[in-house]
Amino acid sequence: MEIRIRNLSKDYFSEGRKIAALDQVDLNIPANRIFTLLGPSGCGKTTLLRCIVGLETPDKGEIAIGEEIVFSREKNIYVPPEKRGLGMVFQTYAIWPHMNVLDNVAYPLQARKLPKEEIVDKVAKALRFVQLEGFEKRSATKLSGGQQQRVALARALVAEPKVILFDEPLSNLDAKLREETRKELRSFLSRLSITAVYVTHDQIEALSLSDTVAVMKNGRIVEMGTPWDIYFNSDQRFVADFIGRANIIEGKVKSAGEGFTIIDSAIGPIACQGKNEALPGRAVSVCIRPEFIKLLAGGQGKGQNIFWGHVESLLFVGNIYEGEIRIKNTSLSFQLEPTTKVKEGDEINLYFDPAHCSILFN
């Protein structure tokens, strides 16, 4: 079911100052897709999620889930969370410690006063779906983190909600388990055809799980698109900087036209992927990700996007070397194959792939 959000604002007060948690947010969350709100802490993503669920009331605006308006300041509508028919997985999982797995999962059905036989059927189905058959009588809080997470998911799904919402559900798991659970979640969600709204500050989660990602900053949505678009084609310095590792170099457009656009920068001219707004004379930044900086064999070469630099540091992290290189007075991060013979202090030749040098507007 589609979620439509219009002009949503919410302020809160901290130490006497007014801070906009949500600043006139307009958003359409497409039906039956996995939609992620991504941003640093304090950007308003969790507030937005809690407004959708009904745990918080916005100051202004309107929220509609499907055809039903669940909140509207102008029309004075507020549907309480228990009447919105949603499912949610909390950051802490919010598993009730005084109930076993069965009661935790059956709770939404019991609260809706379904007949007993139907509850038994649906709970069994939900537990089978999350692969927790046979755990019914176990005390829910004695399960491992990953299993608790699945109990929370089963509980959110059991009443067949219109929308399921996730509030940083993986942040309490350790790194290895987080990776596994992420894959699991992706396969669970792609088997269901359900609208899912997912909140995270972790860019890998956002990119790997979602159909659509919306990046938030200071209570506003700054960019929205597929994971691929967000990673490679962002126009915005904030987004490029926040997602993945990125080198950002200040500059000015020198020439634009057919082929590549040339940007004048502190390390020299850089040929970049052209953009319509990048008119000559405009101050812009260039984003080049470390994985697109290539090592060229041989001595000091010349040519487009070839730079000569001094290796300042080199860290072996297993699959690659992570390094810092100084070109003129600018320090950039880059990465090397673990088999290269380059050492700290070496002077090396690097090539920036122009197809992956993107222009950012501040």
Partner: protein
């Protein structure tokens, strides 16, 4: 939800304000008044009279010696026990847990009485024993002295001091000690140069709280101090209102004002120390265990000392009381004593209408009072923990205030308050006074219960389709039950044994157990006293057991459903 919350906080502030501020104001106004019947006419006479009393000097001196002496002794004993338990390989560590909980079950007045039975100069059992078997002319010990008072009071405050010091000692960063050892210091030197200074806030907090407790203590000063004419402020106030022809409530209030002021100051000091303590005591999440010091040869002798302390705190009072209740008069256990044993005193108590009335009244106060008190505590803890506004901060301070109230002083404040209401001389006056004075004992366990209920647990119930009421019934209340049970047990035991407030507020018809026991002690009816005392402990234990089982059953039902 939002609307009821808005009305909840102010109405709780009004209720708790009436309970805690009213008696203080009435005490204050009362101290400037001629007498209970002459309210409103301002006079300084009572202050002049009470503070120019030549006897006051020695009373204040006694109070200072008694409170600091017992606080220091209790803290030193607590430090010794806590160190042994947390840092050494002393055997039978389970005993320490028992030692910190069980003495709380024995009412203070009975504990004091049992020591009087053992060590009073005319026929104390230990004294008689030494006199008979060593052929002494005089009895060697006299409990009716300041030293005797200090010893008994210290033993009673020991569990409280232990409960403050032991957690601090087991939580602090052992690497601080280890680095001292690496620097070449011995175990003992490390203990004095590193361990004790780091624990200073906890130690000072224990001493402060023990001083507050002994300042408010009435059982020891009345049972052990008064026979030896060793008066402290609490018994001085009691003498002013309860003996002689005309009780002088104005003068009692005038003296009480300084006791209350001292007590409130000390409690603020205590609060400051405990918040400072968090800065000092480095609680680490790294989860290492403190290195255990091997006591080697000292292991069993030290354990012997612990065993003696436990025996003296837990077993001795009960044995002495039971023995006294079945022998006709004070005598050393012997064949003759056993042949003379009878249930005479028990029957006398059961036939005594006042004793039975006091039993009934205390049972009523223990059950109904604790239930109402916990109900109020639930709302207060909810507002303080979950709503968190400026107003809820005020509520927290208000509900904490009564922690500093010395029972006898605040009782006089309540007296001034109740004479102007129809509640005067009814059981409800006692009930209200109890709840007001012991409110922190209910609010504390419930606050920690509420802290444990993460807001997500409630929110997730709402999202799952449970309304506010359904959420309350199925999520919040079941999770609160352990806190409710322990709060109820605490309040109920406090109420059944309550003495210092009751000696002021209890009137003919509203006698309670502890007051009746004090009357027996004043009349020297030790046998009946002991029989009634055992009944009191029994009743209190039954209440605790019932509460415990009800709690266990309620949580179990919730799990099974």
């Amino acid at each position: 939800m939002q609307k009821t919350n808005r009305a909840l906080t102010p109405s709780l502030i009004v209720i708790v304000g009436i309970l805690t501020i009213c008696p203080v104001i009435m005490l204050f106004l009362g101290s400037f008044t001629e007498g209970l019947s002459a309210f409103g006419s301002f006079t300084l006479e009572k202050y002049v009279k009470s503070y120019s009393d030549p006897a006051l000097g020695s009373i204040v001196a006694n109070t200072l010696i008694f409170t600091t002496g017992s606080a220091l002794l209790a803290t030193i004993l607590a430090l010794f026990l806590a160190y042994l338990n947390t840092r050494t390989n002393i055997p039978f560590k389970g005993l320490f847990g028992l030692l910190s909980i069980v003495p709380m079950m024995i009412p203070h007045v009975l504990f004091a009485v049992s020591w009087a039975l053992l060590l009073n100069p005319s026929n104390g059992m230990i004294n008689l024993f030494f006199k008979q078997f060593l052929g002494l002319n005089e009895t060697p010990f006299n409990i009716y002295t300041l030293q005797g008072m200090i010893l008994v009071e210290a033993l009673m405050d020991l569990p409280m001091a232990y409960l403050i010091i032991a957690p601090a000692m087991s939580a602090f960063d052992v690497s601080l000690e280890e680095s001292s050892r690496v620097c070449g210091a011995s175990n003992l030197r490390t203990a004095f140069r590193v361990t004790l200074p780091i624990l200073r806030p906890a130690i000072l907090a224990a001493i402060t709280l023990a001083v507050v407790r002994s300042l408010a203590s009435f059982a020891v000063p009345s049972v052990i101090g008064m026979p030896g004419r060793k008066y402290v402020l609490a018994t001085h106030i009691y003498r002013v209102i309860a003996t002689g022809f005309a009780p002088d409530y104005g003068m009692a209030a005038a003296v009480g004002m300084s006791v209350l002021a001292a007590s409130i100051t000390l409690i603020f000091l205590y609060r400051y120390l405990t918040s400072e303590g968090e800065k000092y005591v480095t609680i680490s999440s790294r989860g290492y265990r403190p290195t255990v010091i091997d006591l080697k040869k000292a292991k069993y002798p030290l354990f012997g000392i612990v065993a003696i302390i436990s025996f003296v705190l837990i077993v001795l009072p009960l044995v002495v009381l039971f023995y006294t209740s079945v022998v006709p008069y004070s005598m050393v256990p012997s064949a003759k004593a056993f042949s003379l044993m009878s249930w005479k005193h028990w029957i006398a108590v059961i036939k005594d209408p006042v004793s039975m009335l006091s039993l009934k009244n205390s049972l009523f106060l223990g059950v109904v009072g604790a239930t109402l008190g916990i109900l109020l505590s639930i709302f207060i803890a909810y507002v303080v923990v979950k709503i968190r506004t400026t107003a809820s901060g005020i509520l927290e301070s208000l509900s904490f205030l009564s922690f500093s109230f010395p029972g006898i002083v605040i009782g006089i404040g309540f007296m001034w308050f109740f004479v102007y209401t129809p509640l005067y001389a009814t059981i409800w006056a006692l009930l209200i006074g109890y709840i007001a004075t012991y409110l922190p004992y209910g609010v504390r366990p419930l606050s920690s219960a509420f802290v444990q209920i993460h807001s997500h647990l409630e929110e997730s119930s709402r999202v799952c389709g449970g309304g506010a009421f359904y959420t309350m019934r199925r999520v919040v209340i079941p999770l609160l039950i352990p806190g409710i049970v322990s709060g109820w047990i605490l309040m109920s035991t406090m109420f059944v044994r309550e003495l210092s407030l009751s000696v002021v507020l209890s009137r003919p018809g509203t006698e309670v157990l502890a007051v009746q026991i004090l009357r027996f002690a004043e009349d020297g009816l030790w046998g009946r006293l002991s029989a009634l005392g055992i009944m009191m402990i029994f009743m209190s234990t039954i209440l605790v057991v019932i509460a415990f089982f009800v709690g266990a059953k309620l949580t179990k039902v919730n799990k099974d459903r």
